[in-house]
C-alpha cells in the first residue's frame, strides 16, 4: 500500500502526461544508416521521436547521452520520448550496427 502511494506521489510530482503539444520528429533506418543522421530539435521541450526501421533486420537504438535504448524490429516503427534537453549535441547509435548506424540529436534554442 505504501509503495503504491509512493508511486502515485512520484507520478504526481513528475507527470509525463502534459497537455502541451509535443513536437514530433521522424528518423528512418535504411541500410543500417539513420536518415537524417543529424536531427535538430528545440531545446527545453519534450520531443516525440518516431523511428521507422525500413531494413528487414532488427536494430537497437541506443544513446548514453539521452539515456534511451529500444529494440526496433525490421519493417516496424517505435516511439521514444526524449527531453526536455539543454542546448547541445546528443549522439545515438544502432547497437547492432555501430559502425554505420550513427546519429546526433542537436538541441537548439
Amino acid at each position: 500500500m505504501a509503495i503504491k502511494k509512493l508511486f502515485l506521489w512520484i507520478l504526481l510530482i513528475n507527470p509525463g502526461i502534459s497537455f502541451a503539444e509535443v513536437p514530433e520528429f521522424t528518423i528512418e533506418i535504411r541500410d543500417h544508416l539513420f536518415f537524417p543522421s543529424t536531427l535538430s530539435v528545440p531545446a527545453y521541450r519534450k520531443i516525440k521521436l518516431i523511428i521507422i526501421n525500413q531494413d528487414s533486420t532488427p536494430e537497437e537504438v541506443e544513446s548514453y547521452e539521452l539515456n534511451r535504448e529500444k529494440v526496433i524490429m525490421g519493417g516496424s516503427r517505435a516511439i521514444i520520448f526524449i527531453g526536455p534537453l539543454d542546448p547541445g549535441e546528443y549522439p545515438f547509435f544502432g547497437e547492432f550496427n555501430p559502425k554505420t548506424a550513427q546519429g546526433i540529436i542537436r538541441a537548439q534554442e
Partner: protein, 272 residues
C-alpha cells in the same frame, strides 16, 4: 566479429554477475545448486518467447509494450532479490558459527527453503531472459546473411566465453573468502543491483513519456564514461548512470530502502 563480441559481452556481464553471486551464496549456505537447472531451462523458454513475440510486444499498448514488459521483468527480479535478501540476512550478523545457525530449528533459511528456491529460479531466469532475448534478436538479423552469420556466431561464442570466464573467476575469488565476508559482499551487491534495476524502470517510463525526463542532477561522464569498460562494468554492478535525473534517484531509493530496513532489522536482532 568485434561488434558481436562486445555486444554479447555487454549482455552477458550482468547476467554472469547475478548467477555467480547466487551460486556463491548457495555454496556458502551449504545449499545445493538444484535451482540452476530450472532457472536455465526457464530462461531459454522466456527469452525465446520474448524474442519470438517482440513485434507483438512492441506494438502492444500503443507502442509501449516493450517498455512495460521490461518494467515487469525488472520489478519481478527486484522482488526476488528482496525476498532472497530477507531470507539470508540473519546469517550476515549471526554471532554463532554458520553451521550452528543452519542446524538450529529457528533458522530462517531452512524454514523458507522453498521460497528461496522459487526466488533464485525467478531472479536468474528473468534476468537471463531479457539479455538472452536481445542476443537472439541480434543473431536473427543475420539469418539472411550467411557470410555475416558465421562471423557473428563466432563473435557471440567468444563474448559468451569471456563473460562466463569472468563469472568463474569471480566465483572462485569469493569461494576462497570467508563465509561472512562473501555473504556481506553479496548483500551489498544485491542492494546495488536492486537500485540499478529500479533506475532502469524509471528509464523505461521516461522513454514512453509516462515520467518526464528532467535535467540530470549531476554528470560524471568526464570521470567515468558509460561507453568505457569501467562504465560498462559499473553499469552491470550498480546500474551506473553518468547523468541520472531526480526520478531515477527516487526509484533507486525506493528499491534500496527495503533492503536497508532488512539489514538494520537483522543487525538489531543479532544484538538481542
Amino acid at each position: 566479429m568485434v561488434d558481436a563480441i562486445l555486444l554479447i559481452l555487454r549482455e552477458v556481464l550482468e547476467a554472469a554477475l547475478i548467477i555467480t553471486m547466487l551460486l556463491v551464496m548457495s555454496r556458502k549456505l551449504s545449499l545445493t545448486f538444484s535451482w540452476a537447472v530450472p532457472a536455465l531451462i526457464l530462461s531459454v523458454l522466456f527469452s525465446w518467447i520474448l524474442a519470438h513475440y517482440t513485434y507483438a510486444i512492441t506494438e502492444a499498448w500503443g507502442g509501449t509494450g516493450q517498455e512495460w514488459a521490461n518494467t515487469l521483468l525488472y520489478l519481478l527480479v527486484i522482488f526476488s532479490f528482496i525476498a532472497i535478501a530477507w531470507i539470508i540476512s540473519p546469517v550476515l550478523f549471526t554471532t554463532t558459527a554458520k553451521t550452528e545457525y543452519l542446524s538450529s530449528p529457528k533458522n530462517r533459511i531452512t524454514r523458507h527453503k522453498k521460497l528461496l528456491f522459487i526466488n533464485l529460479v525467478s531472479a536468474v531466469s528473468l534476468s537471463l531472459a531479457r539479455e538472452a532475448s536481445e542476443i537472439l534478436i541480434y543473431l536473427e538479423g543475420f539469418l539472411h546473411q550467411p557470410h555475416a552469420l558465421k562471423s557473428a556466431l563466432i563473435g557471440s561464442f567468444i563474448g559468451l566465453g569471456v563473460g562466463v570466464s569472468l563469472g568463474a573467476i569471480t566465483y572462485y575469488l569469493f569461494i576462497f573468502a570467508s563465509t561472512r565476508l562473501s555473504l556481506r559482499i553479496m548483500f551489498i551487491l544485491l542492494v546495488f543491483l536492486c537500485g540499478g534495476l529500479s533506475t532502469q524502470i524509471a528509464r523505461q517510463l521516461m522513454q514512453i513519456g509516462v515520467l518526464n525526463s528532467t535535467t540530470p542532477l549531476w554528470n560524471t561522464s568526464r570521470i567515468i564514461n558509460e561507453h568505457s569498460w569501467l562504465g560498462e562494468l559499473l553499469y552491470a554492478l550498480f546500474g551506473y548512470d553518468s547523468s541520472p535525473n531526480s526520478a531515477q534517484i527516487i526509484f533507486y531509493l525506493i528499491a534500496v530502502i527495503p533492503l536497508l530496513i532488512i539489514l538494520t532489522a537483522s543487525w538489531r536482532l543479532s544484538r538481542k
